[in-house]
Symmetry: C2
Subunit: 687 residues, 2 copies
Amino acid sequence: MEGFDQSSHESFSKSRAAGNQRLTSPNESLLPDNQWKPCLRSRALVKGCMQQLSRALGALGGAEWAGFMALGLLTAVISFFMDLSVSKLLAAHQWLYTRLEGHMVLQLLCWTLYPAALCAVASSFSQHICPHATGSGLPEIRALLAGVDMPHYLSLTNLFVKLLGLTCTLAAGSTLFLGKVGPFVHLSTMVGAYLKNLCSLIGDNKRDGAGGEMLVVAAAAGVASCFGAPVSGVLFSMEAMSSHFPLKDYIPCFFSAACGATTFRLLSVWSGNRESLEPLFKTHFPESPPFCPQEIVLFAVLGVACGVVSCIYLSLHRWMLGFTKTNRVLIHMLTTEKALYSAALAFFLALLTFPHSVGQYMASKYTMKQLLTSLLDEGQWSERRPNSSLAAQPTPWSEWAPPGCSVFVSLACFLLMKLWMLVLVCTLPVPAGYFMPVFVYGAAIGRLVGEGVAYLSPNRDPSDPASTSLTPGGYALAGAAAFSGAATHTLSPALLALELTGQLTHAAPVLLATLLANAVARYGRRPSFYDNISLSKRLPHLPSLLRVFPGLSSAPIGELLGPVGAVLERSAGLTEVQRVVDSGAHRDVPVVDSSDSGILLGSFHRSDLLAFLHQKKDKDMVETVGDVCCVHPTSAQLSPSNTIQEAHGVLNLLPTHTLFVTHEGKLVGIVTCAEMKRILEEVAREI
Amino acid sequence: MEGFDQSSHESFSKSRAAGNQRLTSPNESLLPDNQWKPCLRSRALVKGCMQQLSRALGALGGAEWAGFMALGLLTAVISFFMDLSVSKLLAAHQWLYTRLEGHMVLQLLCWTLYPAALCAVASSFSQHICPHATGSGLPEIRALLAGVDMPHYLSLTNLFVKLLGLTCTLAAGSTLFLGKVGPFVHLSTMVGAYLKNLCSLIGDNKRDGAGGEMLVVAAAAGVASCFGAPVSGVLFSMEAMSSHFPLKDYIPCFFSAACGATTFRLLSVWSGNRESLEPLFKTHFPESPPFCPQEIVLFAVLGVACGVVSCIYLSLHRWMLGFTKTNRVLIHMLTTEKALYSAALAFFLALLTFPHSVGQYMASKYTMKQLLTSLLDEGQWSERRPNSSLAAQPTPWSEWAPPGCSVFVSLACFLLMKLWMLVLVCTLPVPAGYFMPVFVYGAAIGRLVGEGVAYLSPNRDPSDPASTSLTPGGYALAGAAAFSGAATHTLSPALLALELTGQLTHAAPVLLATLLANAVARYGRRPSFYDNISLSKRLPHLPSLLRVFPGLSSAPIGELLGPVGAVLERSAGLTEVQRVVDSGAHRDVPVVDSSDSGILLGSFHRSDLLAFLHQKKDKDMVETVGDVCCVHPTSAQLSPSNTIQEAHGVLNLLPTHTLFVTHEGKLVGIVTCAEMKRILEEVAREI
């Protein structure tokens, strides 16, 4: 397992560029290796099977397409079974809580200890086995897809820890108020990484670059399988992950996402949960007319309001991330006593949401799914009073109207309490997603606005059924899309909202609200939620660095370059070559005219140099390295006045690992992926 | 008007790159010009107004956002009024035809001469005023967005000719069977180009690069306004236009598309055509369950079938394009007698579709919109026989079941006849779109399959309303998306189909069918419909060239480079500089160490050289050009072994107009936008 892991690490480096040669560690020999390997016979057997499989798949358009399909299916299966176990765990908790009816203390203990224990488990798991499993994982994957080498984020250990941890976190329910998207994208990327290795094992090696797509596709399939929403899955992963989307990845992304989403929905049908391939949060808004054209102004106001609230949320979040890095007590807790901290925080939050305390005013009995379903309800809450005859029969939103309390009060209470809770819960060292909470929060904002408008609107005439009544659920939908879009700086939540509910009636207002919320949230170059995390974790991710430090876009690369390192003359002899090889040079060793002029001629491949040394040791020749090894022409060269952004772009564009920086023909620096990572990390530290 | 036109031409060159300096013609002076200009007072007045407007807009996030909004609004208004006039013209024709009931010969004349006359008008308009207005325009815009300078495609004359020509073509109705999308994208890009000029006039000149986005945004707004479908508009323009989509254009595209689509729908409401913001082709498929999970296999088969038919269609189209270039009679007709050819072809097609001849078996009385509406009808046609009592009342599909003819026969007749008609009509030299015809054609394929399956399905029990009956309309929808997606090699028709009908019930099967059809159509590197046109017109568009000539992706740029041209030494004197300036050099003149060594040091700006000459003429100095002018460092340099694709990518990535190609430090070539265009044109000629 260890060996497989190691090889996987190596091959992810420079994942976006269509690199067709592996990076090797400096001291590793590139000569044909005839070392002893264990289990030669079973290896041969496996290899034979793989080759047969490869031939069979080759007839069907290549191994990578089978890989994309398998990726979709696998992520959907994982997503479905995770949802299933989470719902069982939530049901168990609810069953226990209902059984203890009448025993207030026992109920309190049940309500608080269950999430605290789950949190402690998730947190200690990730602390002791794989510390990289905590948090969302989406910012890391984003940096990884931008070409930064981060092998520890894709290990097999991480996959299992994340899977178990995330299940525990989700099972803690709406007390913690955390979601699934981010970690699930991380999970599916890890699955994609293993499938990529498998594909390169069985696939034809002619198209080695194709494997690089797998991680991009995996991110899309992850979002799609999470919700059973293929189109918005692809778009969200596109928007959140990359700053430049190559369209050749478009078809594989959609293929894998469609496979994933269809499997996810089919599994629901076959397990008997649903009758047909329905969307997750099916709504029944009135079809014609869904809203009158004048209401568009109200939706626009809602969008702006969501944008403003998201700005408050994001600045609180930014402050909180800074606070955890400066407050001594928190630093101590978060480095050594993660489980204790998680349990304590979960206990505190559960105490607040206990249904016999403040919790009754914030519908805390609902799970995350129930919260969203109730908020998207097509009816109007404020009309049907709880003291009317209708109150006896359970409505899907009865928790929002506790006895003696208006829905407005409970919605406002929910919004006020959850805002700081959401910020607080982001400090929990457990695998957790932060997209679904903001989506639900936005739905609550929209519902409050919608209920308010419906309550104040003059033409709600109960005797006339033809009179156009307002649909507060539509506002909740628009609010959800707008708030989550503003927090993550993406537009695809608008499409996600439509795909999740299966209705296109509110397409125009939802898109409008999301656009306006985004405009407000992006005004003045504010970082998004994921940018906040990236910056706080000092990830070498250029787009998020550019956002908070606009001067970086004009910073020349020349000022940040490290020393050139080993350089060879064309007329170098055995000793110089030996010295350069021993010094652990790059894969491509630059060749200059003479060390005085320093004019760059091209590069020697390290493997050629090794062969030269090998040859030289056998017979005693007087030839120089230039006579034996061929000087490869350099790919594009940069000048020191090119910006970091340009260098990053060229490095990702060209299928080369090494860019030389020259000034007036003279070599002044070398930019590799590792060097770029170092530069970005340095910049991130300085900010 | 002429002057405005001219300046617009210049600024479009290198539209994608964020260039911040204008290209100037070689002999134009860059010194401060104090020439006489007409109307100085009114110019000052306009300038003052513009500056005030600029300040007002600056407070609202900059002029470019106002530009994006105006773009959406303008295209929507144009689209709406074009639709309105087309529907009036169609109604006039239909009114005349119905009035002549009983007079077969007069009816025949009315049926045939009307489209022939319209075609002749459209064709002679474009022949005599602007020959670039014919055809779709989408392949040209695609090449333009890829960085190729094609100013004549964005002239104001072209806009008016295209607008009038397209209205005429559309008014010829389903006889010609042509659509609106392609020319409308061209139209909106022209509008975008003028708005871009306006923005750069009134906007702050700090962000000059922002104007480059306008054309990308215009393409998206064009598709969105054409159908009132914002999301698929953006995605279609993304897929069809570019091979690499920068995400910074994403928000402006969506913003403009949402403005356009909303305005388009609002105009429909205000004009009294529709009650609310409904989609164009609203369907009423049963909600739950829309289809049983087993039907997914049938949808997959439909997708593959659509893919196969699209391959036949595309190869016929390719053959036809080749035939028009080799057949002497056609060449003569298409160069000199465009109007005659168009009228004759339209007359011939109208003769065939005459409702008293073969036309009665292909529902030729319907307009394009009526065809699509009838094909997407939710009911089952084959059940309700025309001889039952229901036949008396007009159904939306009554034309599909003429007396004594089954719907299967008329659908099959439609498919067979329209296939070659579609290919033939592509040769018409009029402004016309080819997306909507393939969309309707695909819907007919889907309807035929759907009706067949519904007819053969065992459980169509009319006494039991709960029994799941098949919805042939769903198959028509999937077929439309799959066929149009396969013909254009895009996936966004799947989303367009959903947005046009306003129902998400069939999202999964539609996406599946489109994916499979695309897989079949792309198998073996076949060119798409737009690639066919690009290749036939020899447009310098790299992605379509790469598709038919895969060897191009590894062709080194060094083999195709032209001569270097004027080069200066650092120690050059007055005469050399004068010679270089007179020879009409590039904007950046390369500077070498000495003409013997040829080591590239950097470049002089042409403006600096002109200043040097100016200075020298006044006083008699002995300084060399290197003492006075500063040597600017080069941006990225290429080597001759870099491929054309890489050079194209780097040229589009960096905000520079000139890339130098060096070998071992020596200058061997220069790559500019113009040079790249020349190289691509040369490659296209050779293929």
